[in-house]
Amino acid sequence: MDFIHSIPWFLIFASLAKTIFIIFLVVLPMVSYTVYAERRVSALIQDRVGPNRTGFPLTLLGFKKDFSPFLGGLGQPVADAVKFLLKEDFTPGHVNKPYFWLAPALAMMPALITLAAIPFGSVLDLDFLLIPLGHLFGAEWGHGPVKMIISDMNVGLLFMFAISSVSVYGIVLAGWSSNSKYPFLGGIRSTSQMISYELCMGLSAVPVLLVASSSGLSSIVNYQVAHGWLLLPFTDGSLTLREILLWIPIAIAFVTFTISMFAETNRLPFDLPESETELVAGYHTEYSSMKFALFFLGEYTAMIAGSALIVVLFFGGWHLPFIPDGSRGGFWGAIFGFVNITAFFAKVAMLLVVFIWVRWTLPRFRYDQLMKLGWLYLFEIALANIFLTAGILAFT
């Protein structure tokens, strides 16, 4: 009995609930609707209409009318998912099967794992619900506020970099095991691109670490709650000389970090691993059905994780000016907790729109331009930026 009592049941259940909530209720629907937004926004930018037909076929369930909400086409992601699940999963005969099967999972999983370190809300205190509910079963369920982060590591940023760099294996294995020249070229390009830009990405996050003096993502957010968002330092209502001086290196870090994030997630203008005009479809040319869909979802999940990281580092995470966090408890505390979560995902969604917007504006870089930009410019700028930040911090 002592053993059972020694297990921190509440922590296990809370972590499970958070994981299920963020992965299945927020991020995966967000992924499919990002794909929809991608198609719709690209259509609007190119003076087209885009997918505006697919509603929800409620007539199949016995309702009078099909439900096609305000914009039309909101059922498109569901239809796409059904199509991917029902399509024939064809494995070509010339591939290296174990790696061919492993690659899609390796492309999807790292992006999902990185979400564990993201603080997607302040704290949530559901005791006003849980204590009466526990009394019904004769148990004590109250536990106080719960942090809205699946795993609160004090090396959260390093964890994110470490895990997200694993996703290159998915692409490399896909390119190599396909045993076909275009996927192979895509895989090679992706390897060199991701390795080059990882350096720059890591270095451009260092100024943030210096300013917030911590690499735990939740403590970076807490610093920004106390001192104003790093990129918009006036959000705490005051603006000091130190903040104005620090804004310069932070803005440079933001630009370099965002550019390397685009390269890291294989988005245009850096989508050389899958450049359609040169490499058919790049590393996933030989894939079909759900295995292809996993690459697709992995790319968009990485986009969401990347946007979440940018929000955490530069835009104050879940914080909105004048809205308190959820630590006060009771009904209103829970409401504020949910408002914080909503604010976080709203910021992420805005960044995703910027990702899409950039994709349909800029043409693709040439391969040597990509390497030159990464190694000769961004790397040096990020490196010099660290010294600039350190100097400002030392003399103010």
Binding site: V41, L44, I45, Q46, D47, R48, V49, V255, W357, V358, W360, T361, L362
Partner: protein, 176 residues
């Protein structure tokens, strides 16, 4: 003599590349905004908007049969259209109008008049050749069916689509 094209001298802003990114994003955002405000003209949303109001006067759609203002079917089963029809889409079975009918002096009428809409090429030769102004190409364009048999328009359907047409030729009227 070879002509050397001078390389353009780029300013610092152009070398930086970032200002042109911002300019490009402004352009795409303008397009997005114009689409959202409905200022950009886009293609016809077909099932909701139809061609009907935008159809030109000379449009050649499905061929139909017409009756005159007395309710007489104008076709006299001369079979000229059947013979001229390039894809042989028209099949007519002529018959004699019985003596007690008030249009008996017209003598012939089509017992059956079939136009196979799978074969029809909408050339309009039937309309051109008809001496009685009995067959006309109307503006029906969405002609669909789930079987071959369904795509054959019979006489009843043709008159239903054609309706009444008071044409130029009234040569049968004085003898009525």
């Amino acid at each position: 003599m070879a002509y050397i094209v001078p390389r353009p001298k780029l300013t610092f802003a152009e070398k930086m590349y970032l200002p042109s990114i911002v300019a490009g994003m402004a352009i795409t955002f303008k397009h997005l905004k114009r689409m959202l405000k409905g200022e950009t003209k886009v293609v016809m949303q077909y099932p909701e908007e139809k061609w009907d109001s935008n159809m030109p006067e000379h449009y050649r759609g499905a061929p139909t049969l017409v009756k005159d203002d007395h309710g007489r079917e104008r076709c006299v089963a001369c079979q000229l259209c059947e013979f001229i029809c390039p894809p042989r889409a028209i099949t007519i079975s002529p018959g004699e109008i019985p003596a007690e009918n008030k249009f008996a002096k017209v003598e012939k009428y089509p017992v059956e008049f079939k136009i196979d809409m799978i074969r029809c090429i909408y050339c309009g030769m039937c309309e051109e050749v008809c001496p009685e102004q009995a067959i006309f190409l109307r503006k029906d364009y969405a002609i669909t069916g789930t079987s071959r048999a369904e795509m054959v328009n019979d006489k009843e359907k043709l008159y239903e689509m054609g309706g009444v047409f008071d044409g130029l030729i009234h040569k049968w009227n004085p003898k009525k």
